[in-house]
Symmetry: C3
Subunit: 343 residues, 3 copies
């Protein structure tokens, strides 16, 4: 599909500077800018790319003043960043989406499907499952018995939801994620382990997004809960009975062990680990690969494994790198003292 | 389903203290205790919740003496913990389970299926595969050529078992796990890599439980072996030709590289890493996020990356946190010596 | 299938030393060597196994001189290692492979399939997808709209490829991997997060092999690129807009965050983490569990988290282990100085 600079400007309430007939058919980053694409400049750090970009049209902030001559056409808008986000959304909305119920799929006679669904081929909707309006279920999705799924939620290909779990409205779960597998509960018994049945469930509240191949285990009893607006990346582990607070974000490969509670608005870096039975307050920030085994006060910024205050960690780590020097200094001091003593 | 206190007491050989007609329809934790649920008190640490719990009935040990008045009904049993485990199992056993062979599914003409199976819709059973009695194969499971699966084993939705692998009796594999993908074997060849074919298999012995989205690679030659009673959590990696000893447990996101041997009755914490070609003795305990690249003696408790004795690690780590102080002390000593020397 | 020593020798252009009628029906490792199997000896470290191995036939290098009497039959070849690799490949090529298009499968009317495909039951090929010649698509694979797949590529069971992604020729993707899920892009907005649409794609160039349950996210705009000959192990995360250079290998559970660029011919150890927006030069080696948040020069060998030069890291770590001793030495020095001062 092609767009002229004049049409985009009109859509975004912007002003063209250059060729209003310039045509684009894709978007690109300003630093990679290919011909016939639209790029944007928001962060001043990237300004130098503007003068050499191959992009045909570039969105800039209203008050931007170029320091050099330009070969591209500009569109001046209120906020280049928000405008590009809006355009990406329009672009996304325009792309082809399958709809209706493809065959073969398996809809149990006692399942309920809301209006205007998409159910992909080979999707499985179990007994007693209840799907809201506008739900999109991609191929190879498994929805177990009595699962409830809220309006406009999207489950991508191969998502598996075990029995009795509850998924809110406007959630997105990416391919291969598993919601509601058994928590890791085994009781030692004569040198072996016997399984503790896991009869709870998982509850994802509204507006949650889960990445690909992430696992959220069902509770032993009660619920493992992922609160409103939480965003989890790929390959994350959330153990049984954990609670993840509202609007918390976690990068890929984080692990949250069983029965722990993570506060609201936390930011957890990739590959970080949170041990079981602890509590992180609201707004905690954990660095990538950090590991924590004790409660953490709200607002803390932590690093290391075991993790502590990030700026203190960094000071210690600088000296860890210098340990051979420190060791030499101690040796030197010992010699000096021997010299002094021998006098 | 509803139960009266008198019925539960009779089932558990217990004694009601309070209302024998009290009714529950679910179980809950004592600290979350909701009305019309059954909770239990085993750990004295939780006793204070008993006096305020909303649970209608609470199981307690026979000899428990309440310190305050109670609003719930008690059932006194020999062991509250074992009774609740028994009840959870009954509860689990009562829940709806699909059975029979759902359609469409793919059963190769040369596959063999034991008595009373469950084969979910869209399950694929390949040529020459052989399934024992009472096996439950959920939807979207792939069972490759010549795979053998023992009696009463359960493969949850979307499990993938590659050709020639052997799964024991009474095993459970959770959704999305992959058993028998190629080991990571490539031979350097002129600045690139050529693949070393992986012609071995994976053997899971009896009573093994594997979490969701875990990967156990096939051996280059011979077998990758997971011994009797092993319990692996979610998102774990087990490399080609590794051997995991009997009744060892591993928390989520652990990685075991190729050709390593982990002893029996080990406990490996979440996100720990075990390098290739090493051996861990029996009963080794590794802390979460620990990493080990050398052999580890039986019974060791290790921490850190590279890991060493956990109590020594903790002592070193305390001083790591104090490195800025130590650095200050060394600076101070240097000054003092200068002062002494200048006299 | 059975082979005589004389036939194998003839196949490999080798010379039999022992019984030319000796029969094998499998291959094994020399240290595990079972009767009726063929083993090989290449690394002199394993020579002692030769004298006790149960293997019936052993491949050795042409010039090998045994130090003790042997009970097995030898076949002398130019290179035992290359010969065994060649035999493994023949063995692999001989095994049963499904072919044709199994039913039920879902091929969109607007999809294109090349010659001699294998399409497993329950595979889903979306609208506008285009598959090359000799492609093998196992059961439960999902190929989204407009995906292009090159000749002779193999997608194992349950692989999910999102819309618009491009997979090269001679690639292998193992079970459960997800190519092209949304990048983790959210813009903070009034204490919550709003999604940034991810309209780019993933490009895997030719000869790439991806392990099981690995995730490679689509770009926000443009492409996440995995270059020619790259080998990624299981459970790896590659973030949006990352670029992985030619012939780089990564062990299991590595994480590469968004927009980072990894050079060619790098070797990244298991569970290592690469932060976002950084660049690793060609030939970088990262130790297992290392973590890096800054650019890394070509050819560097790094370790630790945050990572730095591996040999320096090891020196510091030796002293980290000795920190209690160092602390004692500092205490001792303080006492000595007090003693000196008091005189």
């Amino acid at each position: 599909m092609e767009f002229k600079a004049r049409d985009i400007a009109s859509l975004l309430n912007g002003v063209v500077e250059g060729d209003p007939e310039a045509i684009v058919n894709d978007v690109s980053k300003i630093e990679e800018g290919k011909p016939r694409t639209l790029a944007f400049l928001s962060n001043p750090k990237y300004e130098h790319y503007l003068y050499t970009t191959g992009a045909t049209i570039v969105l800039v902030n209203k008050d931007f003043v170029p320091a050099q001559p330009l070969s591209c056409t500009l569109i001046r808008v209120e906020s280049a960043y928000e405008s590009i986000a809006a355009l990406l959304q329009m672009y996304e909305d325009m792309r082809y989406r399958p709809s209706g119920i493809e065959q073969p799929s398996f809809l149990h006679g006692e399942a309920t499907i809301g209006e205007t669904p998409y159910i992909g081929a080979f999707a499985y909707i179990g007994k007693g499952a209840c799907l809201g309006k506008g739900v999109r279920i991609y191929p190879h999705v498994y929805v177990g018995e009595n699962v409830r799924i809220g309006d406009n939620t999207v489950l991508y290909a191969g998502v598996k939801i075990y029995h009795d779990c509850v998924i809110g409205k406007n959630c997105t779960v990416h391919a291969g994620s598993v919601i509601g597998a058994d928590g890791f509960g085994f009781a030692p018994s004569n040198g072996a382990y016997s399984k503790v049945p896991q009869i709870g469930n998982v509850v994802l509240e509204d507006g949650v997004e889960i990445g690909a191949n992430t696992c959220i285990d069902r509770a032993t009893m009660g619920s493992t809960v992922v609160r409103k607006g939480v965003k989890l990346d790929n390959l994350i582990q959330v153990g049984h009975n954990a609670v993840i607070g509202e609007h918390t974000v976690m990068a890929a490969q984080v692990g949250v062990a069983g029965t722990s509670k993570v506060g609201a608005n936390c930011m957890i870096g990739g590959q970080a680990g949170i041990a079981g039975h602890i509590e992180l307050g609201d707004g905690v920030k954990m660095a990538a690969q950090a590991g924590v085994g004790v409660d953490v006060a709200a607002g803390s910024i932590i690093m290391g494994a075991p993790a502590f205050d990030a700026s203190k960690y960094q000071r210690s780590y600088v000296l860890f790198r210098k340990l051979p020097d420190l060791y030499g200094q101690i040796r030197e001091l010992e010699k000096e003292i021997q010299t002094i003593k021998s006098k």
